[in-house]
């Protein structure tokens, strides 16, 4: 199985802080791969670099062996990559259907409408299609963002915390969706903190800490890995004085006056 995504010594810093310190790894096609690590370890930054939202300071990103480093996002999506965001970014002032149709579709507008209908029905949002994005509940927005990304008919889907703040029923819906996508031969790369879910869902895991890859392997191996435990719970995990690392904010995006062209 060929790797669909390859990261080579990717580096990114903000001011003096190194958000990513040169990790390298590959995501295999047709798998559900997870990316975990304490807050501030660089996971979302990694996603931003892969999807072209940010440019790396060093290193490469390869999608299906094609170098996409530094490409603008809309060019990368043409190559079959899609992503969702940590905090839902549904277009609140548009209807659910419009959210789906706004995505450029290869087959043209007519086909887009068919695909949108199919995807919305799959997640029980079809009846909500005329409602505005802002009217949806949080869980529904997460679903909408997911299927909206699927309008791109991607081969690789990056999900940034799809389970965050979502009720258990919705978690199941999302899990089913992810598994059915794998069934269709797609690759899913997921960031999340819901450990039990991730351990049960993923075929393979990468663990990031302070911008570096500290562990990689199947869930069973990761759960037992000392370095991982230390990263999450501090040195000498049990009852140590060092504070839990869970609450650190991710590095700011630091571009106040400029949008990426």
């Amino acid at each position: 199985m060929a790797p669909v995504l390859r990261i080579n010594r990717l580096r990114k810093h903000f001011g003096g802080v190194a958000a990513l310190n040169g990790p390298s790894f590959a995501v295999e096609a047709g798998t559900i791969t997870g990316l975990i690590g304490p807050n501030g370890s660089g996971k979302t930054t990694l996603f931003n670099l892969i999807t072209g939202v940010l440019d790396p300071d060093g290193g490469d990103v390869l999608l299906n062996d094609e170098r996409i480093t530094g490409w603008p996002p809309h060019r990368i999506t043409e190559r079959g990559l899609a992503r969702t965001f940590q905090i839902t970014r549904v277009f609140g002032k548009m209807t659910v259907l419009e959210n789906m149709l706004v995505v450029p579709h290869r087959g043209g507008d007519a086909h887009a409408a068919d695909l949108a209908t199919e995807l919305l029905e799959r997640v029980n949002l079809y009846d909500w299609r005329e409602r505005y994005g802002a009217e949806l509940s949080y869980g529904q927005q997460k679903l909408l963002e997911f299927v909206r990304a699927l309008m791109l008919e991607p081969n690789l889907i990056l999900l940034d915390e799809p389970f965050a703040g979502v009720n258990p029923t919705m978690v199941q819906t999302i899990l089913d969706l992810i598994r059915s996508l794998r069934q269709e031969g797609k690759t899913i790369f997921v960031i999340d903190h819901a450990m039990t879910v991730m351990m049960g869902l993923c075929d393979w895991l990468f663990v990031l800490d302070m911008g570096e890859l500290i562990a990689t392997g199947p869930p069973a191996a990761i759960q037992a890995d000392e370095r991982v435990l230390e990263a999450y719970f501090g040195r000498g995990s049990a009852g140590s004085a060092s504070p839990a690392r869970g609450g650190l904010p991710s590095p700011p995006s630091a571009d106040e006056g400029r949008v990426r062209a």
Partner: protein
């Protein structure tokens, strides 16, 4: 083109730059604490300038003395603007506050034109100059420079040492955290706008001793203040001085080699250049 003239221009520009820096630091303060772009900042400067003019015109008052009036007056104006208008748009995208203050700017300009007509005014209280190693420094520029410097240092000390100053800096970092720490964020915002307006007023007060101003030129100074912040480094107090150096020099040289109008155009282009290439400014971050 001889060395002497170049140096002369440079010094003249730098001296003026310090006054601009005082105003720019105020603009920066508002942006830092409230994410609001005070589009009326240049007009607040003009209000301060015209206060000095009015006092000079009516009573021959020394413009330095006028500062004791213009500073508190502009502080109150700033306070009022925040209290009744700006506070409503603080949470919203910066564009809304921009447009709002643009509206305020228009009102101020019109009021100024109405009361004082479009004639340019000045306060030529300090005449003559000093000769410093062959360079002529007009007294008004020199005095304005020193005063601006003193005031800027005063504000800096206030922000660094005093309780309210620290409260302001804390709120600039994170309003939520400040709230949690028991800081009265609303009061901080009122104070910030008042302080920034006072700084603008003081700058204007000093400016009118050097240049002749009409009520409509506020936007031109807003441009300069904005350029100073962007070139020097968004959010950096000392960056404002670097920016002031650059803007002062640009203005001085452009005005001499082309004309006064062109100086604004040159500063504008420099602003755009920095926004595109180095939005963090000279002292700020690269991206």
């Amino acid at each position: 083109m001889d060395y002497q003239t170049l140096l002369q221009l440079a010094v003249g520009g730098l001296l003026l730059g310090a006054v601009y820096a005082l105003a720019a630091a105020g603009l920066n303060l508002i942006f830092g604490v409230m994410r609001v772009v005070n589009f009326a900042h240049g007009d607040l400067m003009i209000l301060g300038a015209y206060t000095a003019f009015w006092l000079y015109d009516r009573g021959g008052v020394n413009p330095l003395l006028s500062l004791t009036i213009s500073i508190p007056l502009l502080f109150v104006v700033g306070w009022i603007l925040q209290r009744f208008l700006v506070y409503r748009v603080v949470g919203q995208p910066p564009l809304m506050s921009l447009i709002l203050l643009w509206g305020v700017s228009l009102v101020i300009i019109n009021a100024g034109l109405f009361f004082w007509t479009s004639n340019v005014r000045s306060v030529p209280y300090f005449s003559g100059g000093i000769d410093l190693a062959g360079i002529q420094i007009s007294r008004s520029r020199g005095i304005a420079f020193v005063t601006a410097l003193v005031l800027s240092i005063g504000v800096w000390l206030f922000l660094q040492r005093s309780r309210w100053g620290k409260a302001i800096r804390a709120t600039a970092q994170s309003a939520e955290m400040a709230l949690v720490c028991g800081i009265n964020v609303n009061r901080v915002r009122l104070l910030t706008f008042g302080l920034a307006a006072a700084m603008a007023g003081a700058a204007g007060n000093l400016l009118i001793t050097i240049l002749a101003l009409s009520p409509g030129v506020g936007p031109s100074f807003l441009l300069k203040a904005f350029a100073i912040i962007v070139i020097g480094g968004l959010g950096s107090f000392s960056g404002a001085f670097i920016g002031a150096l650059v803007v002062g020099l640009l203005e001085s040289f452009s005005a001499f080699f082309i004309n006064a109008q062109a100086a604004d155009a040159v500063i504008y282009f420099a602003l755009i250049l920095f926004l595109l290439v180095r939005p963090g400014g000279i002292l700020g971050q690269r991206e």
